[in-house]
């Protein structure tokens, strides 16, 4: 099982550490250039600055590789800026900021305000329960389309979503010692891998199987 952590910028090592804490045998590769994503069984997009991500991803042409992997059904865990990067629409985006557009949600950047308004709060996460959410200049999901499950809320605000094999959170599970979200993600990667191994057809399906 090979997990690619997008490493153009942001809290990359925190995600790597969280994955290793769940399972020390998991192989993790840092993705800074083209050619690695197609080898990965799962992809993590960390927190950081979404404007910087966009600028560097375009430059390094990793962009279409991620879109293609998502279409094949490769599981993706995205936190904060990662969630913004995947979204179809961003309110309050920086001039010229594009996104991958594979997650059918509308997000608002810096929805709670500036760093002064960043906070910790307990949230509920579907299939996990209470979880300490670390919100840093965090976005929120304002609208979801059909096929997107809301899996976490803070009051009436949507802070976690799932669409097929994409899991996205507005907060940072990688900044706490609680690895349940990374564990859930690795279970999903194993399940998808199992399905692909299990299929007798030598071709890899082009559409997500769920």
């Amino acid at each position: 099982m090979l997990i690619g952590v997008l490493a153009v910028q942001g809290d990359v090592s925190e995600h790597v550490d969280a994955l290793k804490r769940v399972c020390d045998r998991v192989e993790v590769v840092l993705v800074r250039k083209r050619g690695i994503i197609p080898e990965c069984d799962g992809i993590v997009i960390p927190g950081g600055e979404s404007t910087t991500f966009c600028r560097l991803l375009e430059k390094e042409s990793i962009w279409d590789e991620i879109v293609e992997a998502v279409k094949r059904g490769v599981p993706v865990l995205a936190t904060c800026a990662g969630l913004i990067l995947l979204s179809k629409e961003v309110i309050d985006s920086a001039p010229g900021q594009r996104t991958l557009g594979v997650l059918n949600v509308k997000v608002r950047r810096n929805a709670f305000g500036r760093q002064r308004e960043s906070f910790e709060a307990m949230v509920n996460v579907k299939d996990i329960g209470e979880y300490r959410g670390v919100f840093i200049r965090a976005p929120v999901v304002e609208e979801v389309e059909n096929g997107v499950d809301v899996i976490s809320k803070l009051g009436d605000k949507i802070v976690g979503v799932r669409q097929n094999n994409i899991i996205g959170f507005a907060f940072h599970p990688e900044l706490t010692d609680d690895t349940r979200i990374h564990s859930l993600f690795l279970d999903l990667v194993r399940a998808v891998e199992g399905r692909m191994m299990g299929s007798s057809s030598p071709q890899i399906s082009n559409s997500p199987s769920s």
Partner: protein
């Protein structure tokens, strides 16, 4: 902690903000136009100043916190985080910046120190701080006061990277020397470098500083930025290096790309092509003790 009870400005929130900057470039800007250039080049944050360090150095006199009006204009112009500098020990300037909503405060030796005995008690602020350091002891003293990020002091406004290199190497080698030491030995180190034992112990266990460690002070080219990353920096601050260069837009993008490709000489060669003249700079060794900014703070 109860469901839906919000806790602001905790250590986790402050240090977490600094972690989001990793692998990024933070650029000094003096007006909204420069801030927009920095944002579109891919900067992770901007540092709002009334003048870049090279101009502060040239102007002499007392350097203070920037005009809140300028800082607010810059905050309005961009969506990335905005940082600003206060004088060492000037907690009222820091309270003003917190009231403005600045995302991170740099208690900086580039400005004229306001207190020759005490740095700011940064733990009582909700907004995170970054502080300069020349060695491990200084870094851990700042962390003890509540700094959420450390940067090398280097020698700001010179465009000469050697002091940043010296400070980064000193910090990294001091951390390496902690490895395998017993508790008694770490206590001895703590006394020698005048840092709290608990932080020395934590650093020894982690094999790195307990907070994010950036490079700053004299970075002027993509190669300088990549050099600092190779020496173990988590990211870089570029002060005068961008807007004192011949082609700021190109230089800004190139330094962002260099930090992303710091281990790839072929890519760095491509990135470094045709950028025009970098800032002229001053050899940091020609500065007198009084002219050196790095000796401010302790």
């Amino acid at each position: 902690m109860k469901l839906e009870e919000l806790r602001y400005g905790t250590e986790l929130i402050k240090r977490g903000f600094a972690k989001m900057q990793k692998g990024g470039v933070i650029m000094d800007v003096t007006n909204p136009e420069q801030a927009e250039i920095a944002e579109s080049a891919g900067a992770v944050a901007v540092m709002a100043l009334h003048a870049v360090p090279a101009d502060i150095r040239a102007a002499g006199g007392v350097a203070r916190m920037a005009d809140p009006q300028t800082i607010l204009e810059i905050m309005d112009a961009v969506s990335i985080p905005v940082m600003a500098k206060v004088r060492i020990g000037h907690f009222v300037e820091a309270e003003i910046l917190e009231a403005l909503g600045v995302d991170m405060i740099d208690e900086s030796e580039v400005l004229t120190p306001a207190d020759e005995q005490f740095h700011i008690d940064k733990k009582r602020f909700k907004v995170p701080f970054v502080c300069g350091a020349r060695d491990l002891g200084e870094a851990l003293r700042r962390i003890d006061e509540g700094a959420a990020m450390i940067r090398t002091k280097g020698e700001a406004g010179t465009g000469d990277v050697k002091e940043a290199v010296r400070h980064m190497r000193l910090i990294q080698s001091a951390i390496r020397e902690l490895k395998g030491k017993t508790e008694e030995e770490l206590k001895l180190v703590a006394r020698k470098i005048e840092a709290p034992f608990e932080l020395v112990k934590e650093t020894s266990e982690l094999g790195r500083l307990p907070v994010v460690n950036f490079a700053a002070g004299g970075i002027a080219t993509p190669a300088d930025a990549a050099l600092m990353m190779r020496l173990g920096a988590d990211g870089v601050f570029v002060g005068s290096g961008i807007f004192k260069s011949e082609q700021p837009e190109k230089m800004a993008s190139a330094i962002v790309e260099a930090v992303n490709n710091y281990e790839n000489p072929e890519a760095l060669a491509e990135i470094s092509k045709g950028l025009g003249s970098p800032m002229k700079g001053i050899d940091a060794r020609t500065l007198s003790e009084e002219e050196a900014l790095q000796s401010r703070g302790w």
